[in-house]
């Protein structure tokens, strides 16, 4: 059985920090990071407050009713103004009325046709 002294040293050096100590340090760091996350969120909310007031001001002056998040169709551009009885009003955020919509898009030909008609 041969073992070099350097291996022995490295072995002992590695053991000299207990795994539980390392774990507790990591635990403390994780708790601190979670705390920092909430702190950052609070700070950022404070910092963003004027921006939100500004956007709310634009909404007021222009009489807007909706967020410009989804511009693909009118019932998604203005979900709150969309037709009460339109199929998509089952839920304004439905991915697609037909299940196939979740795996296949409209055919390219149809989209081109749509473009021309517009």
């Amino acid at each position: 059985m041969i073992s070099s002294p350097s291996l022995k040293m490295s072995g002992k050096a590695r053991l000299s920090v207990r795994k539980s100590s390392l774990c507790l340090v990591l635990f403390g760091a994780a708790v601190l990071l979670l705390g920092a996350m909430f702190f950052h969120a609070a700070y950022q909310r404070q910092a963003d407050a004027p921006l939100i007031v500004h956007i709310a001001g634009v909404v007021k002056t222009l009489d807007l009713t909706d967020l410009c998040l989804f511009t693909e169709a009118r019932y998604t551009r203005h979900p709150s103004q969309a037709d009460l009885y339109s199929a998509f009003q089952d839920h304004p955020a439905s991915l697609e009325h037909f299940p196939t919509g979740s795996i296949a898009g409209p055919p390219a030909a149809l989209r081109r046709l749509h473009g021309k008609l517009d």
């Binding site: 059985m1 073992s3 022995k8 072995g11 002992k12 053991l15 207990r18």
Partner: protein, 242 residues
């Protein structure tokens, strides 16, 4: 001193595969002796060892330990009898006796794979909540004593058979128990290593330990410093030798 009176142990009682491993054993084992339970495999000597070592309870009969052998167990009170009947103690106390009174050396060594030699040796001390620095120092001393000082950080599966055996002995000694129990300790060792093992056992006896070994290896029961050999067959005590 360990006293067994009319100890029986059966498995699967009342079922078709009922099996009596130990049937009515009366036995008194002296302190600071090396006692070998000799017998073929299946003779019930391992079951007898686990009954003595408080790992299992007998189906009937009593096992008593001399109080001085129990070391400094927390549940003992000053007014108690000089002998303690362990068979009637609750499981929690049996665990404590296993921890402080007995050191076990298993046939398969039963080291925990994947962790280091040092960690394996420290395992019996964990439930005691002793200071890490103190127990670690003791572990290193034991490892040095067994010429394992440079294998401290090795994983147990990298060890040779003899090294694994010595690690198992070191683990059994970690809590400084008065009684060492070894089940077929030389089954996986060649003659030279078996001889080394017996030398260690002799040394432990010299330190005042009581040693109980189950074995059918002549190297063990024929060793000159063995005090007593008890033949076990079909769960019963047969003849005696020395």
């Amino acid at each position: 001193m360990i006293r067994l009176s009319n100890v029986r142990k059966g498995f699967n009682l009342g079922r078709p595969n009922e099996f009596i491993a130990v049937g009515g054993v009366d036995l008194t084992l002296e302190g600071n002796r090396i006692t070998v339970l000799k017998g073929p495999s299946g003779s019930g000597k391992t079951t007898l060892l686990s009954l003595i070592g408080c790992m299992a309870r007998p189906t009937s009969g009593r096992i008593s330990l001399l109080r001085s052998l129990l070391g400094h167990n927390g549940f003992l009170k000053d007014g108690d009898m000089p002998e303690v009947e362990v068979t009637s103690l609750p499981e929690r106390f049996l665990t404590e006796i296993r921890r402080r009174t007995f050191g076990f050396i298993f046939q398969q060594f039963n080291l925990i794979k994947g962790i280091t030699v040092l960690e394996n040796i420290l395992l019996p001390t964990y439930p005691l909540g002793k200071k890490h620095r103190v127990v670690r120092k003791r572990a290193e001393e034991l490892l040095d004593m067994f010429a394992l000082g440079d294998r401290t950080a090795a994983r147990v599966e990298w060890l040779s058979g003899g090294e694994a055996q010595r690690v198992a002995i070191a683990r059994a000694l970690m809590n400084d128990p008065p009684i060492i129990i070894a089940d077929e300790p030389t089954a996986h060792l060649d003659s030279k290593l078996s001889g080394e093992f017996m030398d260690i056992i002799a040394r432990l006896k010299g330190q005042g330990k009581t040693i109980i070994i189950a074995s059918h290896d002549p190297l063990v029961f024929a060793a000159p410093f063995v005090d007593r050999v008890i033949a076990v067959r079909d769960g019963m005590i047969g003849g005696e030798g020395a």
